[in-house]
Amino acid sequence: MAKSKGKPQPNDKALLAKLEDAKNEVAQMFEAFRKGTISEDEFKQWWQTRVAFKGRGFLRNMLKQRELARGWDTKRSKSS
């Protein structure tokens, strides 16, 4: 078979395996917090190191997109 740029890369399986592991990890941590096996501080520490990430303006950009979808173009409305 000819080589293709769209051919699945060898690390696809590793990514899927990572997702399976991550699903188990997330389920276990939420359950542990619900049951009181871990403290709120421990849960938040895990959340901040394993789940949360720096968006660098991500939310602001999405809010801006929403404003444009409403027709709230501030530059235009100022000039009209």
């Binding site: 990430f53 720096k54 404003e67």
Partner: protein, 154 residues
């Protein structure tokens, strides 16, 4: 006498705000607290089916822009997707009613969809968008559901 169910409608931005390290603390804390309450069953979350597109679309965009999104983020989405009450197009909501609501309330189709779901189930619509809330409060449309800023969630 049974206790009254606390119902919320949250949008994709609220869900994602819980995961962002560099957003205002009151926003990420409020969003995190809401997720914990949904997980524990303290509140019941209702979302339109489009929520999935919004969240995953946002994550694809974040990854494409080089943000360090881990597999745990996607796993967290899947965890909560199993807990949400999902409202499907042409079953629980209809394009025509959302379109009409968007024009009536002078908001986007996206805003109207979440507001229509909140109206139908009698939930409060929680958003990270303060400008939208200011707009809705200013215009006082009579048939709008309750809405609130996620930074005020306790």
């Amino acid at each position: 006498m049974g206790h009254q169910e606390v119902k919320v409608v949250l949008n994709a931005l609220v869900f994602l705000a819980a995961m962002l390290l560099d957003e205002p603390k009151e926003v990420s804390d409020g969003a995190m607290q809401m997720l914990l309450d949904i997980d524990s069953g303290k509140v019941i979350a209702h979302v339109p089916d489009r929520f999935e597109d919004e969240v995953l679309g946002g994550l694809v965009e974040a990854i494409s822009k080089g943000r360090p999104v881990s597999a745990a983020v996607f796993a967290t989405f899947l965890h909560f997707w199993g807990k949400f009450r999902i409202h499907s197009r042409s079953v629980d909501w209809h394009a025509e009613e959302v379109f009409q609501a968007a024009l009536r309330w002078r908001v986007s189709y996206y805003d109207a969809l979440y507001l229509v779901v909140a109206q139908k189930v009698g939930a409060t619509y929680w958003t990270a968008d303060r400008k939208l809330l200011r707009f809705l409060r200013h215009h006082r449309f009579p048939d709008l559901p309750a809405s609130a800023w996620i930074g005020d969630y306790r």
